[in-house]
Amino acid sequence: MAETAVQEKEPLFGKKERKLLTDPLDSNNPVTVQVLGICSALAVTTLTFKALVMSVAVVFVCGFAALITSLLRNMIPSQVRMIVQLVIIAGLVTIVELSLKALNYPVYKDLSVFIGLIITNCIVMGRLEAFSLANKPWRSFLDGIGNGLGYGLILIIIAVIREIFGKGTLMAGSPFGQFNIIGASNETMSYMINTAAEGSWFSWYTNNGLMVLPASSMFIIGIIIWVQRSWNKELVDIS
């Protein structure tokens, strides 16, 4: 294999390395551009804290799976490379699951199968196949982290919108406490709604039930893709 030859001059954070980290955040985003990992984006985005935990888990799994695969890339027999990748990912996911169960049991219960389903998240396997098998460990690690962050970024944007409009709160269920933003969950607003005369403007907001349903994240992803493409013209595919 060609890349085993040692190349001179490979900075830790050169232009290429930075690009590996930032590209997946925008012009090569795994969710909005490659449209991968949609299943979990629908399921775990009802609460911001859940989405945050899920994102951290995916960043960890993606980064370290890429690092390990890249370290082993010259040893992995190509006939069984997919199975080997799967073992690496599954091992890391189980580590995340066991740690989360010890650190925050209620969130572990809430995320239930979705932590386990990171194994089947196409983003992780896709990056291992496309990048880590042919690149050096440090770069693969950055690529993995970058893609995890790109996924997490979209997840958190969706979750913030869904939680504010669906429940009126932000970061509910987190150990840092929750913020009550709008509607009846906000004490000041609740007071105003309850005391305001019928039809006054204070009573305008009730929690939007659609936002709690999985379908809403489909709409939000669609809108995010639209917004992203309207400022990043490179992504617009004219054919």
Partner: protein, 246 residues
Amino acid sequence: MHSTRYIYTFVLIMTTVVAVVLAGMNTFLKPIHQANEAVFNKRAVLKSVKGTAAVDALSDEEVVAEFKNVTQMVVNMNGDTFNPEQVKAARNFKDKPGMAEDLDLAKEKKKDEKDRLHPLYVFDNGGKKTYVTAVRGSGLWDEIWGYIALDADKNTIVGTSFDHKGETPGLGAEIKDNPTFPLSFVGKKIRNTKGEFVSVLVKKGGADKTNLHAVDGISGATVTCDGVTEMLERGLKYYEPALAKK
């Protein structure tokens, strides 16, 4: 191309390494997992008596301390009481003391009705007793369960808490997420004026406020609500003989 022997060796070494790491980690973290799970279950029981918000504000240590004042009983559908030693023997517990909280209710539900063991928690609040019963049934997608707290008259509901495995967020999951649903049971009675067991109905389309045996259903979650109705009727009935003996 690698030889077949190389592939076998590689895969064997790799899976062994992963297995050892994971097994080690699991053994190391198991005590923490069990402690977390125990506190989680204790919180669910406490919520039926004290309400969700009050219990969420308690720390794990406070929950454990609070639970020390609770009398834990294990009963069956005939009203027989089991002591921890009998429970331990009946369920082959090795590292659990055989208290009511140690019962795996999902496993109990799979057993024959006659063989099932049910936990009964008795809260003593200055001589005034509250009985917490555990019920378990099926929602739309998967299991639902809850704790129903009954007043000293063993008839009036003073609080409930529900949980589920996989109900739809915003619809069936509202039994847990919507704080008004568990509260709507407060003050309802499980027996009619003649003293006959009638349970509480979760009524589609809304219940009459004066009706002591029905609460409002959740729009869009008819199957889950029917599941709650069925679970209450069947589940509370198991406790009838045990409660009558108290």
